[in-house]
Symmetry: C2
């Protein structure tokens, strides 16, 4: 029980104006920097200029890859790797949210691989070496700034695959909460739903728990529930943005796992949704989460729900466990769909049952998701149907 | 607010039988290993043989420094540094509790210094480089396994000084909860009191909080309160030992600070007690803690006590804040002196007021401890008196 190796050497600069340290950190890894970013929002908020200024001040040579999409494509990974090889890039600087960071991780790996980067996602390549990665985070959600994994989409095959290697862990991440002030309400809500789900995937787990980590997870969930609505109403509330930002990192950097090896459930089920319909990952998770909880609640799992309901939502401890469990799912739905104002059904976002069969098949890889409650293809179809 | 750099690259092997990885880890840093330990309890529990076997298996050359005392002396640091220099030691292996680990950290630093190691404690040396340190922990208490500080005593001057440098952070720490099965009830209790106080020193703080970290601290405190009594009654309860062990690391590795720079209060006040009377650090803290809390409680600080009492001890939220605050201190006393069965006064451990003046002077360095509530020399004397 509880055997694990803990190793998270990422250096984090947290707080406002920490970017003054960017040049010095980059210079530790080399002179030729590839700056990667998305659709240009970093230009609108003045962050691009700031970053370029720091790079120039440090006397580094700048190269760029822009246009990385949400649900980033393998084409961007290949394009980035090509620049790296051609220009002899020594360090990658990812500026953006989880999509940009994830894409950059695979560019870092693909620099040392001669074939199509998709092979890395397919598990055909044992990634031992990566270019060093520095990140500047602009969205609190995926936790990619402090973990070693990422998710890449392949529109040709309608696949979306997550994969991770220790070598892909960022060396340095800059977390400046003020850089998330311009994140709109919807994206703030989706980010909160994403973080919450990262924690739930570990918390709702039948493997032996380290109680200490349960208390940490409950605290992180309460933090999200407290501050996400504040950040939506007051986008420039530093306290709210700071709490969400640091929570996003700790929701998935590995600390809370404590050696649990059990598979995640909601994430693979969601990946099929965003792979085909290109929806925001956090929205897909929000719609799925309460249904997944409802589907997995039974006499064998009710004690975990009781713990969750009483410790996270302060539901009365004197109620019967099953009543607490059901109330906790209601509370979760209320939070996601009323407080965070996210759409609550697949129907609302124009997704019908057309692809449920094929998505379920892919999600469980024609087998069973061996998570909190093992889910067969039919179980997954049932959960999708509950979301209509 | 909340500016900080987070960087804790220590690799932790957690769980039973992880020592099979010891040889491989040591070999990364060199061939000549100095094994440091205390009075020989590691021989009684068979750990010495196990460690030596792993070192031999890895083909490494073994040197030894034994006899490191609780409240470790600067003489041991100098003795260790001498062996390092003479034998060309490449890596240090500390096997023991906080005293052995602390002493080893300063040996690692003193290897690169030509004078008396006490100069390092006096702040006369800017430590930039240390020999790499690997630790095997046998006591859950000080958190030295994952932080970069240590405390050393100088019996000649009756001084006890804490100091830290990033270079002193252990590279690798082995945390096997079963290695604490033989820790007796008193030492288990003192370890719990030490950890609790590490958290309280940060939690009771007037600097702006990151709520997320408060929830983590409250969870860690609840973990200690839940499991310390279990570990005392059932010394071989893995769950209890595991929770205490991992909590000890996170109580002081820097994560919970979140950029707070405010000075600690109880620790410097206690250090003077154990410097002169050579008592167990955790026991000194246990006696001081409730008095320090009582002394610092007022209208300006009551809100923090309310948060503490309701979230850690589940005191009724509907009571008046001052009532909750007072009850929380009572609960803390009950936990330390009844549940953990620790002595509750200085008188009980044969300490009278003879040295209060000089101890208070040293504790505040003839100035003020600028902590939660700033404490003058007279305040510190008052707190000592409350402990009689």
């Amino acid at each position: 029980m509880n055997h694990f190796v803990y190793e998270i050497p990422t250096k984090v600069y947290f707080g406002e104006n920490q970017l003054v340290n960017l040049g010095e950190e980059l210079r530790k890894y080399g002179k030729k920097v590839l700056l990667t970013y998305g659709g240009g929002s970093i230009k609108k908020i003045g962050l691009y200029d700031k970053v370029v200024e720091e790079i120039k001040k440090a006397g580094l040579e700048l190269f760029e890859l822009s246009g990385i999409d949400p649900n980033p494509r393998v084409a961007s990974v290949n394009a980035g790797a090509e620049i790296c090889k051609k220009e002899g890039i020594e360090v990658l600087l990812a500026v953006g949210g989880g999509s940009v960071l994830d894409c950059t991780k695979f560019i870092a790996a693909a620099n040392y691989y001669e074939g199509d980067a998709w092979d890395i996602l397919l598990g055909k390549v044992d990634v031992k070496k990566c270019l060093p990665i520095v990140t500047v985070l602009t969205l609190s959600a995926t936790g990619s700034e402090m973990d070693n994994g990422g998710v890449i989409s392949n529109p040709d095959t309608q696949d979306k695959i997550g994969m991770g290697f220790p070598a892909m862990l960022p060396k340095v991440s800059f977390l400046d909460p003020t850089l998330t002030y311009t994140v709109n309400g919807f994206q703030t809500a989706c980010g909160a739903a994403d973080m919450l789900n990262h924690i739930l995937e570990v918390y709702f787990n039948m493997e032996q728990d380290l109680y200490m980590l349960d208390t940490v997870m409950e605290g992180l969930m309460r933090t999200i529930i407290k501050y996400a609505p504040i950040a939506m109403k007051e986008p420039e509330n530093y306290e709210a943005r700071a709490n969400l930002m640091w929570t996003s990192s700790w929701a998935i950097n590995g600390f809370i796992d404590g050696g649990k090896s059990q598979a995640w459930s909601c994430h693979p089920i969601e990946h099929e949704l965003s792979a085909i319909y290109d929806i925001t990952h956090g929205l897909g998770l929000a719609i799925l989460t309460p249904r997944w909880l409802e589907y997995t609640l039974d006499e064998a799992t009710v004690s975990k729900f009781y713990q969750f309901g009483t410790n996270v939502f302060d539901i009365d401890r004197n109620l019967a466990p099953m009543e607490v469990a059901k109330k906790s799912i209601e509370k979760m739905s209320e939070f996601l769909f009323e407080t965070l104002e996210l759409q609550s059904t697949l129907t609302e976002i124009s997704i019908d049952d057309t692809n449920f069969e094929i998505m379920a098949e892919k999600a469980c890889q024609n087998d069973v998701i061996p998570g909190f409650k093992p889910l067969t293809k039919q179980d997954i179809i049932n959960i999708y149907r509950m979301c209509l």
